[in-house]
C-alpha cells in the first residue's frame, strides 16, 4: 500500500507546528517550496502498519494568494489531492479560524476539523459542541490538547481508519457554495465580489457559531492581565528593555561565553596539539601540517566558538516568540520602527541579527509587504553580528584600553543607528511610494512546547554550523594558499605573497581613512568570505605567533599584537576608522547568498554588496577626517 498522505493546514498561532512536531518528531525534512521563500516541512511516520507522510502547510488566514504563504497553500491544493487534510483550528479563536475552513470547503476539499487547545477555550468560557459542529460541516471533528502527546497520537488512529469515506458536506455547506457561486456570477466588479464572498463566509460562520458554540463571560483571562503590563503604558517599555537585557546577558555572558570558552579551550589545548602530534608522527609534510593546524582547525574553531552563543540567543528568541511576547514587542515598537521606514515586525529579524545575519535575513519573511521585507533585509547586515565581535574586542583592547566598555557600546550603537538611518533612506529613495502596513494578531500568551522551540532554534542556527563546515573550511585553505604562495611558487615571505598583492591593491581605496596598509586591505578582503577571518588574518599577517591569536581572548591577543608592527601601523583614530569600516561593509558571502535567495534576485545581492560597502567607506571617512579636524590622532 502506498503511503497515506496527510496535509496539515490552519491559521498561524494555532499550535499547528507543535502538532506536526509531535506527529513526526525529528523525522522531518525542511525544504523550500519552489519559487518562493517559504519553508516546506515534510515528515514520515508509521502507524498501524501504514506509512503516513505528513506535510505541514504554512499557517495562513485564508487562501487568497495575497502572500507567498497563501500562494503556496492555494497552489498545493490545486495540484495535490492528499488523502487527508487536517484543518487545525484554535478552539479559543474558533470564529476567525473557521474562515479558512469554510474557504477550503468551498474548494471542494474534504477535511478533518481538529479543535486544538480545547482546555484553553474552556478557560475563556467557550464551549464547543463537537457533534453539532460535525453536523454543520458534514465533516469529522476531532480535538487535541495543546501539548499532550497522547491526544495527538489519537489523530493517527483517525488517519488510518479511512474515516473520510463516511462523510459528505452538509446541506448548510452546499447551500453556502451555491450562494458563493451566485455571487461570483453576479456581474459585480472583482473587488466587490470578493468582499461579498468574505461577508457571506462570516455570515455562515455566525450561523454555525450560534448552533454549536456557546460563549459565556469569564473573569479576566491571563492574557488580559499580562497585557495590561506587557503591552500597555510605560511599564511595557521598561519590561521590554529588561527582557532584552536579560536575553543578551544570558546568551552572551551567562551561557554563551562560558560554553564558547570551553569549546575554544578544547580546540586550542586538545585538538590542535593532538592533530599536530598525529601529523608529525605520520610524517605529514610541513606545509600540510601548517595548513591543517593553522588554517583549517583554527578557522573552523573560530566559528564553532560562537555556536553556543548563537543557539542560546535563538532558543530564547524562539521561546519568546512561542509565548506570544514577540508579537507584543512588534506592537510596542511599531511607531518607532515605522518612523525609520520599517515595521514593528522587523524587530525579530533585527534581534536575530545580533547572532547571525543569515537566519536574520530569512526571518524577514514574516513581514507584510514587499517594501517592508526588502528594506528590512537590506539593513539587517548592519547589526553587529557575532562574527564581528572579535574585531571590536581586539581593536578596543589594543587602541582604547582605558575605554573598552564605551567603545564597544558605541560600536554596537553605530550598527543600530546605521540600520535605522539607511532604512529611512531606502524607504524614501529606492522604495519610495510603496505601501507599508501592519496588521498583527496578538495571540494569547502560552507556554510554548519545548520540542517546537528547540526545533525552531535548530532550524535557524544550523545554517551557521553548515557555514563553519563548508565556507570556513574552504576559506581557510584559500587564505592559507594566498598567503603562502606567489607567482614563483611557495614563499616564506608573506610580504611577497598573493595576499599581499591583493591587499595592497585593495588598500589604495583606504588612503583617506588612514589604514592603507596591505595587511588591512587583505583583512578586509578575507572578511567578505567570513567576518571571523578579519582578526585571524590580521594576526597572521602581522606575524604574531599563530597560537596567541585567539578570537575569544582579545586582551591576550592585543598584548601580543602590540609588540608587532600592528601597534604602529594604526593610530587610535585610524583603528577606529578601520573598526567602523569592518562593522558596516558588505556582509559575508553566506549572508550575501541569503540576500540573493530571499530577495530572489542577483541584482539585489550586488546592490547590498555595493551600498553597504559605500556606506562603510563614507562612515569611516567621516570618522577619520572628522577626527583629524577635531585634533585627534
Amino acid at each position: 500500500m502506498s503511503a497515506l498522505s496527510v496535509a496539515l493546514t490552519g491559521n498561524p498561532n494555532t499550535g499547528k507546528s507543535t502538532i506536526f512536531n509531535e506527529l513526526t518528531g525529528a523525522r522531518q525534512k525542511i525544504g523550500n517550496w519552489p519559487g518562493v521563500t517559504v519553508d516546506k516541512k515534510v515528515g514520515t511516520i508509521e502507524h498501524n502498519g501504514r506509512k503516513i507522510s505528513v506535510i505541514d502547510l504554512p499557517g495562513t488566514y485564508s487562501i487568497n494568494a495575497r502572500s507567498q504563504e497563501e500562494q503556496v497553500v492555494s497552489d498545493y491544493f490545486k495540484t495535490n489531492k492528499p488523502d487527508i487534510v487536517v484543518d487545525i483550528v484554535d478552539a479559543a479563536n474558533i470564529a476567525r479560524n473557521l474562515f479558512l475552513t469554510v474557504q477550503l470547503m468551498e474548494n471542494g476539499i474534504p477535511l478533518i476539523i481538529n479543535l486544538n487547545m480545547m482546555d484553553e477555550a474552556q478557560r475563556h468560557g467557550i464551549k464547543i459542541d463537537m457533534k453539532k459542529l460535525e453536523d454543520a460541516f458534514g465533516m469529522p471533528v476531532t480535538n487535541t490538547v495543546g501539548r499532550s502527546n497522547k491526544s495527538v497520537r489519537k489523530l493517527l488512529d483517525v488517519f488510518t481508519n479511512a474515516v473520510m469515506t463516511n462523510y459528505k458536506p452538509s446541506k448548510l455547506i452546499n447551500d453556502h457554495i451555491e450562494r458563493i457561486h451566485n455571487i461570483e456570477h453576479s456581474g459585480l466588479s472583482a473587488a466587490k465580489i470578493e468582499e461579498e464572498i468574505i461577508a457571506a463566509r462570516y455570515d455562515l460562520i455566525d450561523k454555525i457559531m450560534a448552533s454549536a458554540v456557546t460563549v459565556s463571560a469569564t473573569d479576566k483571562t491571563l492574557t488580559e492581565k499580562l497585557d495590561s503590563y506587557l503591552a500597555n503604558g510605560v511599564t511595557s517599555i521598561i519590561l521590554m528593555i529588561a527582557a532584552f537585557y536579560l536575553m543578551f546577558q544570558i546568551s552572551f555572558n551567562w551561557i554563551g561565553q562560558p560554553l564558547a570558552d570551553l569549546v575554544g579551550e578544547f580546540f586550542d589545548e586538545t585538538l590542535v596539539p593532538w592533530a599536530a602530534e598525529a601529523m608529525a608522527e605520520a610524517g605529514v609534510a610541513d606545509w600540510m601540517q601548517s595548513l591543517v593546524s593553522d588554517g583549517i582547525i583554527a578557522g573552523v574553531g573560530a566559528v564553532v566558538n560562537f555556536v553556543p552563543l548563537i543557539f542560546t540567543l535563538f532558543i530564547i528568541l524562539s521561546f519568546l516568540d512561542g509565548t506570544g511576547y514577540m508579537a507584543r514587542v512588534a506592537f510596542i515598537m511599531d511607531p518607532i520602527m515605522r518612523r525609520a521606514g520599517l515595521s514593528g515586525k522587523s524587530i525579530m529579524p533585527l534581534m536575530m541579527g545580533f547572532g547571525c545575519a543569515v537566519p536574520a535575513i530569512m526571518a524577514n519573511r514574516a513581514l507584510d509587504t514587499h517594501k517592508d521585507r526588502m528594506i528590512s533585509i537590506f539593513v539587517t547586515p548592519f547589526i553587529t553580528c557575532n562574527a564581528k565581535v572579535p574585531i571590536i574586542a581586539l581593536f578596543t583592547a589594543m587602541f582604547f584600553p582605558d575605554n573598552v566598555a564605551n567603545v564597544v557600546f558605541a560600536m554596537y550603537f553605530l550598527g543600530i543607528i546605521t540600520a535605522i538611518v539607511m532604512a529611512k533612506v531606502l524607504g524614501e529613495t529606492v522604495f519610495k511610494g510603496q505601501q507599508s502596513t501592519f496588521l498583527l494578531e496578538l495571540p494569547p500568551y502560552r507556554l510554548p512546547d519545548i520540542k517546537t522551540v528547540l526545533l525552531e532554534a535548530w532550524d535557524k542556527g544550523k545554517g551557521y554550523l553548515i557555514k563553519a563546515g563548508t565556507i570556513i573550511f574552504a576559506m581557510s585553505v584559500v587564505i592559507w594558499f594566498l598567503s603562502s604562495f606567489n607567482s614563483d611558487g611557495m614563499t616564506e615571505d608573506m610580504d611577497n605573497s598573493y595576499l599581499a598583492s591583493i591587499g595592497s591593491a585593495t588598500s589604495v581605496v583606504f588612503a583617506p581613512q588612514g589604514f592603507d596598509t596591505w595587511e588591512a586591505g587583505a583583512a578586509v578582503v578575507t572578511g567578505v568570505l567570513a567576518k571571523e577571518a578579519v582578526v585571524s588574518t590580521m594576526g597572521i599577517l602581522y606575524g604574531a605567533d599563530e597560537d596567541s591569536v585567539d578570537t575569544d581572548d582579545a586582551e591576550g591577543t592585543a598584548e601580543v599584537l602590540n609588540e608587532t608592527s600592528m601597534g604602529s601601523a594604526f593610530t587610535p583614530l585610524s583603528a577606529l576608522a578601520f573598526m567602523v569600516f569592518s562593522l558596516l561593509y558588505s556582509p559575508c558571502m553566506t549572508a550575501l547568498g541569503t540576500v540573493k535567495k530571499e530577495a530572489q534576485s542577483f541584482k539585489w545581492m550586488a546592490f547590498v554588496f555595493f551600498y553597504t560597502t559605500a556606506v562603510a567607506w563614507v562612515a569611516s571617512l567621516i570618522v577619520y577626517q572628522g577626527g583629524k579636524l577635531l585634533g585627534f590622532e
Binding site: N64, A95, I198, F331, D334, P335, F438, E441, L442
Partner: protein, 74 residues
C-alpha cells in the same frame, strides 16, 4: 466616527470598511460591517491600537483604523 477616534474601553459596531489596498485583508481578519469590536488599548507610544473581535486580539495602525467607520454600542 472612525475606529481611529475611539477610546480604550469603548465597544463599537463596524458600519463600513473604506476602500484601501488593505480592505480585503481587514475583512478576511473578520472586520466586516456588523462586527462588534472592543477597543482594548493603544501601544505605549499611542499607535497601533489593540482590538478584540470574534474572540481574538488584533493590532492595527491608527492610519488604517481611520478607514473603518464605526458607531458606539456602549
Amino acid at each position: 466616527m472612525t475606529l481611529k477616534d475611539t477610546k480604550p474601553g469603548m465597544i463599537v459596531r463596524i458600519d463600513s470598511v473604506g476602500e484601501s489596498e488593505l480592505k480585503q485583508r481587514l475583512m478576511t481578519m473578520g472586520l466586516i460591517p456588523g462586527t462588534r469590536v472592543e477597543v482594548l488599548n493603544s501601544a505605549p507610544l499611542g499607535d497601533p491600537i489593540a482590538l478584540r473581535l470574534r474572540s481574538y486580539n488584533l493590532a492595527i495602525r491608527r492610519d488604517d483604523a481611520a478607514q473603518i467607520e464605526v458607531s458606539q454600542v456602549q
